[in-house]
């Protein structure tokens, strides 16, 4: 079995679990517990350890998706997951500026530990108070869009939209192939 491992990360409320659910063809193995902290107001369940989803697209080929918890007290999980990942996608809720700084932290964490290709997925772009993509990128520290990773809009509930985001990741991997590794 040939497996590609993709990490889905991002701050609380970005839609990581939803994203994995909408592209995964198996019943998602999740480890949700009833949230007791401040995230309880945001959603009934929050990811404690990880979400796992699978997309089998050939007799011996599969994509595994690992969703990280959003809170920082689970950062040991981020570490375990990113070390084995072939690529990652960071989901950012464009309507929640309070989370931009957290997204920036998560991203610098990932960048410190891994040089795998990555894509930024902006979620909740349809909300009225969502920031424009370019402005979110600046808030994430990407001051020059030509040097930023690919940024895509994602509706995590929509399988087609989530699939598009996955394709952006795969394209990044393909390009990384073309360049010789150092």
């Amino acid at each position: 079995m040939e497996i590609m491992r993709l990490v889905v990360t991002g701050p609380v409320g970005a839609g990581k679990s939803t994203f994995i659910r909408s592209v995964s063809e198996i019943e998602v193995v999740d480890t949700d517990r009833r949230a007791t902290d401040e995230t309880a107001q945001l959603k009934a369940k929050t990811t404690v350890a990880l979400d796992f989803g699978r997309l089998q697209f050939g007799p011996d080929m599969a994509l595994h998706l690992y969703g990280t918890p959003g809170q920082f007290r689970f950062d040991f999980m981020w570490d375990i997951l990113i070390r084995k990942a072939h690529a990652y996608i960071m989901l950012v809720p464009a309507n929640r500026p309070a989370e931009f700084r957290n997204a920036r932290r998560i991203n610098s964490f990932m960048q410190q530990r891994s040089a795998v290709p990555m894509v930024i997925g902006m979620t909740h772009m349809d909300c009225e108070d969502a920031w424009e993509m370019e402005n979110v990128a600046i808030a994430l520290g990407y001051l020059d869009l030509s040097k930023a990773p690919p940024i895509v809009t994602v509706d995590a509930q929509d399988p087609a939209s989530s699939g598009q985001a996955l394709m952006a990741v795969v394209r990044q991997l393909m390009q990384a192939h073309l360049k010789p590794r150092h």
């Binding site: 040939e2 497996i3 997951l81």
Partner: protein
């Protein structure tokens, strides 16, 4: 472009950093709200007041607490540098599109030193005081005319205002949540190293931004309270010197890791695999 929200979500230093790094031009209006607003910034009679800060390409060009474009004139008259009737006359002579302050200098009516003093009172002091706001809302509108009559002609990158503002800040309650975690470390921000002069402590912390040493340890090494180091780190982050990097607490709960993850080694992925996956995704 319009951006609006609450200071409790996106704090004023973060907004200024965003406008600076995004080289934005426009008008930022800040409205204090709630009882938390402190005297000096907004006395209880002035709670409904707005504060206005104008930007050009990420640089602050003027600030005011009224939108009548007479703030600069009032400041000059208050200092008795010129009387109001003279100033009114000069306003009508100021060519359109030039800053009133520059015009006064070109007429030898104000010196460069006087203009610098006006700028620092108008912009730096006023904005630094706004950092004390506990609650409030903000709105940034990207398409406005520069307020020529409020402009001294001087400008400063927003980051140059953030740094002294935060150094002088006593009440950090709004920013408490934004402070980097004690277990995080800092790395140098490779995209932007601003041309700002750091004070001794800031420079010392900046010298320790190696991506490995947690703030806790930096505090110990510098014999400073942790909170002080967190505040210094926050200053370095919002002025673009450093980025926060969380350091993973070493795995306590490896038991949660699924078997697949442990068994699979990280080998490269074949191009053929990617092509198949691409084809599959295309059909979703």
């Amino acid at each position: 472009m319009v951006i609006s929200g609450y200071l409790s979500d996106f704090s004023l230093p973060e907004i200024l950093q965003f406008l600076d790094e995004g080289s934005k031009s426009g008008l930022l209006a800040v409205q204090p709200s709630g009882l938390g607003a402190r005297a000096g910034v907004a006395s209880s009679t002035a709670l409904s007041r707005h504060y206005f800060i104008w930007f050009n390409e990420g640089r602050i060009i003027a600030a005011a607490d009224q939108q009548d474009y007479r703030g600069l004139v009032r400041m000059i008259a208050q200092r008795k540098w010129m009387d109001e009737s003279k100033l009114r006359q000069l306003i009508s002579q100021c060519p359109s599109g030039s800053a009133f302050g520059s015009f006064l200098k070109s007429q030898n009516l104000l010196s460069a030193d006087q203009l610098r003093l006006l700028f620092s009172t108008q912009v730096i002091r006023q904005i630094c005081a706004l950092f004390e706001l506990v609650n409030g809302s903000y709105q940034f509108v990207g398409t406005v005319q520069p307020p020529f009559l409020e402009m001294t002609g001087l400008s400063a990158p927003a980051k140059e205002v953030i740094l002294p503002g935060l150094r002088a800040l006593d009440n950090w309650s709004t920013l408490a949540e934004k402070l980097p975690s004690s277990s995080s470390s800092l790395i140098q921000n490779l995209q932007s190293q601003p041309e700002l002069r750091l004070n001794a402590q800031e420079a010392q912390v900046q010298g320790l931004t190696d991506g490995r040493m947690p703030l806790q340890q930096i505090a110990k090494q510098m014999a400073l309270p942790l909170e002080t180091v967190q505040k210094i780190a926050f200053r370095l982050i919002v002025t673009g010197f450093a980025e926060e990097v969380p350091l993973a607490t070493e795995a306590e709960a490896r038991a949660d890791t699924p078997a697949e993850l442990e068994s699979a080694g990280t080998t490269g992925i074949r191009q053929g695999f990617l092509e198949r996956l691409m084809g599959y995704l295309n059909q979703i």
